[in-house]
Subunit: 161 residues, 2 copies
């Protein structure tokens, strides 16, 4: 089940606050207030409300993968054989449950899934493919793209027009 996001309209204040928090969520409420022309408690209320509403989904630290020995980033395009609802759900669960899989999207186009995978070395990816792709008889084929450079990385989203 997915989070029930009561997507009500966000006003200009909310959007500005989100823009700041997406860059640095340790910014003090007083500082945010000064930048958006609001008092600290007002900022506090809005952040709380957006968190409850699921607009703010999490507050996380971004860690450099190479610093923790996870130096290989890989994209994998996966094509499945059967696209029945049960089969798709099973594949989603299988992919999402692997800790090496950072991101998993179900897509339209020439592939069915796109995975973003981070592993210490290529041998680990090889092992993962055996487990995740060759070990899954609903996977028809997959294509691998090895990242040579992380040109831009982020989950941030444009909140201002």
């Amino acid at each position: 089940m997915r989070k029930p996001v009561r997507a009500q309209q966000l006003d200009a204040f909310d959007r500005k606050i989100l823009a700041i928090l997406q860059r640095d969520n340790n910014t003090s409420q007083r500082t945010i207030g000064e930048r958006v022309n609001l008092s600290a408690p007002a900022v506090q209320r809005r952040i709380k409300r957006m968190t409850e509403d699921g607009v703010i989904q999490a507050n996380v630290a971004v860690v450099d993968p190479t610093a923790v020995g996870q130096s290989v980033t890989i994209f994998a395009e996966v094509e499945v054989i059967s696209e029945t609802a049960e089969q798709i759900e099973a594949a989603k669960r299988a992919f999402a449950s692997a800790p090496e899989v950072q991101q998993c999207y179900y897509v339209t186009g020439e592939a069915d899934f796109i995975l973003v995978i981070v592993v210490p070395a290529m041998t680990d990816y090889e092992a993962l493919t055996r487990r995740l792709f060759f070990g899954n008889n609903n996977v028809r084929r997959f294509r691998t793209f090895v990242a040579m450079d992380r040109v831009k990385v982020g989950l941030s989203v444009t909140t201002e027009s």
Copy 2:
């Protein structure tokens, strides 16, 4: 230029702390200390050191794209014509500068770049392709994958073996 990450060895404490901060960076130092069996100031010192060393790259809020009217997530595989260093750098800059482009990777394989793009609607993506792909005479071709479901999303990285 890229950040100079003095990638020294992280011990088991550091890795546990990172694992916690990647889930919720608002966790108090006292709570973290209890979970990893360390005092709060010790936790603070480690976090400060890892931040200075670039292991922790940022602290950000994760915002639900649909809540801010950015409801379409798209993957684009881009193949370029010339792969000279200057041309590649120019492409990197062009892709990274677009705010709709959340993530951009330079990859090996059947494509040269993979982009993760988030826009309010398909028409916005269409406009973006004109600007970014058709307007760039070094782009040979590109393929589009529209995300129907964000099965798993994260920048988190496995810090524990």
